[in-house]
Symmetry: C2
Subunit: 171 residues, 2 copies
């Protein structure tokens, strides 16, 4: 969800700018872990525990249409590491209901560790999830993961669709 269908980095930049009056561009965070990506090192950690943060994240460009397209051929589940931040659970469901109302509650998983999730593919922005996933891992590009190069990488949702179109051809 975060960093894949939700543009969590854009939200960090927006909230940081609101608080500190400075817009720290993505280029300055390349290869930097998310929590260290801004001059005020307490910011990210504070934001993710603030009510409203997860409810108001902008949708990742192209995500809504691309997920709809994938659902024509695949059963799509939203699997979000969320139980670390109890206040975000309801916000994440409300967010999904607003932007992805076509995804049923049956296909939403709010979890911690994703190691027990068994899907044919996993699109994620973190190696901690992709390295041990049971299906094919797909790294969704984000500033923090640009140096983690051992998984197939997609730069955006157009590239996700292109990848799956190719998968279908190769079956």
């Amino acid at each position: 969800m975060d960093g894949v269908i939700a543009d969590t980095e854009a939200q960090f930049m927006d909230w940081y700018e609101k608080e500190h009056g400075i817009r720290v561009p993505r280029e300055e965070r390349l290869g930097v872990p998310e929590q260290d990506g801004f001059p005020d090192k307490t910011a990210v950690r504070r934001y993710v525990y603030t009510p409203g943060f997860f409810r108001t994240i902008p949708v990742m460009p192209g995500a809504i249409e691309a997920v709809k397209t994938l659902m024509e051929d695949y059963e799509v589940f939203i699997v979000s590491a969320a139980t670390e931040f109890p206040q975000c659970l309801a916000e994440k469901l409300e967010w999904l209901n607003e932007y992805f109302p076509f995804i049923s509650w049956t296909n939403i998983v709010l979890c911690g560790d994703k190691s027990i999730i068994d899907t044919d593919y996993l699109i994620d922005d973190h190696c901690k999830n992709l390295d041990f996933c049971k299906g094919k891992p797909i790294m969704f590009n984000g500033s923090h993961n640009v140096n983690q190069l051992h998984h197939t990488r997609v730069m955006n949702w157009d590239e996700v669709l292109a990848l799956f179109a190719q998968e279908e051809l190769s079956v």
Copy 2:
């Protein structure tokens, strides 16, 4: 969670008694789907959407000590069908933090359909989850499931521990 570590049926009986002044014993619900288990057929459906319902469910007898014992040899995950009832998400986490504080947020999964959960065992009170699980299914006895006989059944948490002790002997 419900019907396994949380005695959801006891909570239904308590809430029904509070509302209607009648205690409908377990014996009258044998083989009856949960939502049909009380004379007022609207009751169960109303209760599960009522704030506070999930937060105040009594713990299943023996569950806390048994889960602690299992954690000596197994990695235990709590996997709860919860996304159908958005108001219950935070309540379920709070409930777990109160009664099972030794279970990390990393090992909590709040989901819909459990079909993408891949564990070696699944202890559950519903065939809809057990029939398609990837590991060994274990049916936790409940009034509503007494006629569903195609899975190994445990009557209580003592029997869960006995079953796993036997599993270890047979390895």
